[in-house]
């Protein structure tokens, strides 16, 4: 008997007991669907967790921070130059593993005013146009300043939406979105032209919540207008996005000349950078790249180690480990439910061969061998499992939709091909395991006994 005959017989047998087969498959269907839906949920969770990591520049971004001079170099403290623009040029020229370097010069406690409104930016930074790519910024309106703006130290700025909300009014209050391109604002006494505005950064959850609330009718306001206090839905996990929306960028030279002139020596404004960001070429080369950067910087810093690197490795590791744990526990539960489905198949196969003892006897009398009968029963069990698996994969789409409907503001679950392949392979394995014992039992039947069986 060839394999296709066995499969054809398997299908016929399943078709002959449609309802029973369906009930048997249900275990596998639910098992596969829950496995795929669970992994889709975890994938969504992972995307949500990585969202914030990506928003601050990803794992490839390394920050160079100032550090106290180590004790054994204390006597050299006078000669320390600190982080300067020279470091940036040196890294650009001599560290090929580093793709992008941007200097950052920050001034704290800056009050920005316009027409009686004021705004305190947490992130008022003078930088290069490359900061756009470095920090994953997107200019939605207007433009980023360019090298010429920087060269001539022009008073131009690119602002985040939080600055716009504070100085011009937020869309919620005004009822329309104000695009303040070409407007002038006063930063610490200097007049700046707004030439660009970033897009509004928010987590996927916040975006969804906002989308939902847009369609809801406004709640009836009762009593005098008042602030309802903290603890609402607005804050929470989205600190990084909040910080990012607070950004106000101006050209590095503008910052240096206009805001650093009060400090510094020899009639030269203080050239030290607040920090320096680098992007490495390849994440697998993180450690060599760090070593390269350190070698270069040790020269420009005259051998004084007054700097340190900051990466997001711990954060990424933490995400990885929590995702792994979620996968493990979810996968374990789904695997158990698939196994239960397999036990259901085994049970039905045992019942089925008991009621087909006579048939097996007839097949053996006309020449079926041990392996013919064995393969027939095994194939039948595997076919049930595989049909169940296919149905389960389809059902998982439905389950994911239901999940999205139940909690629309969670991160969208994402069905992955990997999870589907694993679920399919696993149920095929379960089908084989469930079929082995019944197939053995059927194949071992004595033909005479089987023919006499009533």
């Amino acid at each position: 008997m060839n394999f296709f005959n066995a499969i054809a017989i398997g299908f016929k047998e399943i078709w002959a007991h449609k309802f029973r087969s369906l009930l048997t498959m249900l275990g596998i269907i639910l098992g596969v669907a829950s496995l795929v839906a669970m992994s889709a949920l975890i994938k969504g969770m992972e995307n949500g967790m990585r969202e914030a990591l990506v928003a601050i520049g990803g794992l490839e971004k390394i920050r160079l921070e100032d550090q106290d001079i180590p004790v054994y170099q204390q006597h050299l403290a006078d000669q320390a130059v600190g982080t300067t623009i020279a470091d940036v040029y040196a890294l650009e020229k001599s560290a090929p593993l580093i793709r992008l370097v941007t200097p950052e010069m920050r001034v704290r406690d800056v009050t920005i005013t316009r027409a009686g409104k004021s705004f305190n930016s947490w992130n008022f930074t003078g930088t290069w146009p490359g900061a756009l790519e470095m920090n994953e910024h997107v200019v939605e309106h207007g433009r980023m300043f360019n090298e010429i703006d920087d060269e001539s130290a022009r008073n131009v700025c690119v602002i985040g939406t939080a600055a716009r909300d504070a100085l011009f009014g937020s869309p919620d209050e005004v009822g329309r979105e104000i695009i303040p391109i070409g407007e002038h604002i006063n930063i610490k006494g200097q007049i700046f032209t707004v030439i660009g505005m970033f897009k509004h950064y928010e987590s996927e959850q916040d975006a969804k919540r906002r989308e939902l609330e847009k369609n809801k009718p406004k709640e009836e306001a009762t009593g005098p207008a008042r602030s309802r206090g903290w603890g609402g839905s607005r804050r929470g996990s989205s600190g990084i996005f909040y910080y990012k929306n607070n950004t106000v960028y101006i050209p590095l030279n503008t910052m240096w000349i206009k805001f650093r002139s009060a400090t510094g020596l020899n009639n030269l404004p203080d050239q030290r950078l607040s920090s320096l960001s680098m992007k490495i070429r390849d994440i697998s080369q993180l450690e060599p790249a760090l070593q390269q950067a350190k070698n270069v910087l040790m020269i420009t810093h005259r051998g004084i180690e007054d700097f340190s690197f900051q990466t997001q490795e711990n954060w990424a590791d933490q995400i990885n480990s929590s995702i792994r744990n979620a996968r493990l526990s979810g996968g374990f539960i789904s695997a158990i439910s698939l196994l239960v489905g397999g036990i259901g198949i085994m049970n039905i196969m045992l019942a089925s061969i008991t009621e087909r003892i006579r048939e097996i006897g007839i097949r053996k009398a006309v020449g079926a061998t041990f392996s013919d009968v064995f393969i027939q029963i095994l194939v039948e069990s595997v076919v049930i499992a595989l049909i169940g698996a296919v149905a389960g994969l389809m059902a998982s789409y439905g389950i994911v939709r239901i999940l999205v409907m139940i909690s629309p503001t969670e991160n969208s679950p994402m069905i992955t091909v990997d999870a589907m392949a694993i679920a399919f392979a696993f149920s095929a394995g379960v089908g084989v395991m469930a079929g082995l014992f019944p197939a053995l039992k059927a194949a071992k039947l004595d033909p005479i006994q089987a023919l006499r069986y009533e």
Binding site: M1, N5, R358, G361, R363, V366, G367, A368, T369, L451
Partner: protein, 234 residues
């Protein structure tokens, strides 16, 4: 050399510590083309004899040769192949598969001998034509009368052109009229040169075959051969 040669075959069963001799030192030859009946009361051992002859069972002692092959120490796989290629069975209760239609039932032995679909169909149609049922091939067994079902079973037994056909009480479940037709069919097949062994408890049926063997208590009690006696009917 005979088609079937049984030499000193015994079959013992153990039932609750007691030894039962179902067959006791039987020797028997069946020639190619013979029409033989094996008769005996129930419990005499005739079914055991047929099972051993039909390669469904193996003897405790003694040797069997079928078409030149020693089968008393053949493996299960070899026995299955012999049943498939050289032996056709017809049972009292027809033993057709209720889920398959007539054509598929007749094709069944050829599925296990690895014939392709086209050849299976052609040969099954030819076998059904032989038993005069070619217009019923799409019917299910339960849609046919008992006599028709038995003819389907005979077609199934014939389809792989076996060396010998064993019929175990083929008329036992049919009324006398239909039973008569089935026996006629066997006679016709015998005249066409097929070897047939009929197992029955009914002396009247046994009387229709040229050669009769009566089994009692596991031994051949009476052996009647009309050819030897010069009484061949034809």
């Amino acid at each position: 050399m005979s088609l079937v040669e049984l030499r000193n075959v015994s079959k013992l069963y153990h039932l609750g510590g007691e030894e039962i001799r179902a067959l006791d030192d039987i020797s028997l030859d069946i020639e190619s083309g013979e029409f033989i009946s094996i008769i005996g009361p129930s419990g005499s051992g005739k079914s055991t004899l047929m099972h051993i002859l039909g390669c469904l069972d193996s003897p405790t002692r003694g040797s069997i040769q079928l078409d030149g092959t020693m089968i008393q120490n053949a493996s299960q796989r070899q026995l299955a192949a012999i049943r498939n290629q050289k032996i056709g069975f017809v049972f009292q209760f027809f033993n057709l598969l209720p889920k398959l239609n007539v054509l598929q039932n007749v094709e069944l032995p050829m599925i296990y001998s690895g014939k392709n679909a086209r050849e299976r169909r052609d040969r099954a149609m030819a076998a059904l034509k032989l038993v005069d049922l070619e217009n019923r091939m799409k019917h299910r067994p339960f849609q046919l009368s008992g006599g028709q079902q038995q003819r389907v079973a005979i077609a199934r037994a014939l389809v792989n052109s076996p060396k010998i056909i064993f019929a175990d009480e083929p008329t036992g479940n049919l009324d006398s009229h239909t039973g008569e037709a089935i026996l006629e069919l066997f006679s016709t097949l015998s005249q066409e040169g097929r070897t047939i062994a009929l197992v029955t408890h009914d002396p009247e049926i046994a009387a229709r075959t040229p050669r009769r063997i009566e089994i009692r208590d596991g031994k051949i009690a009476i052996h009647v051969d009309m050819k030897l006696a010069g009484l061949e009917r034809k």
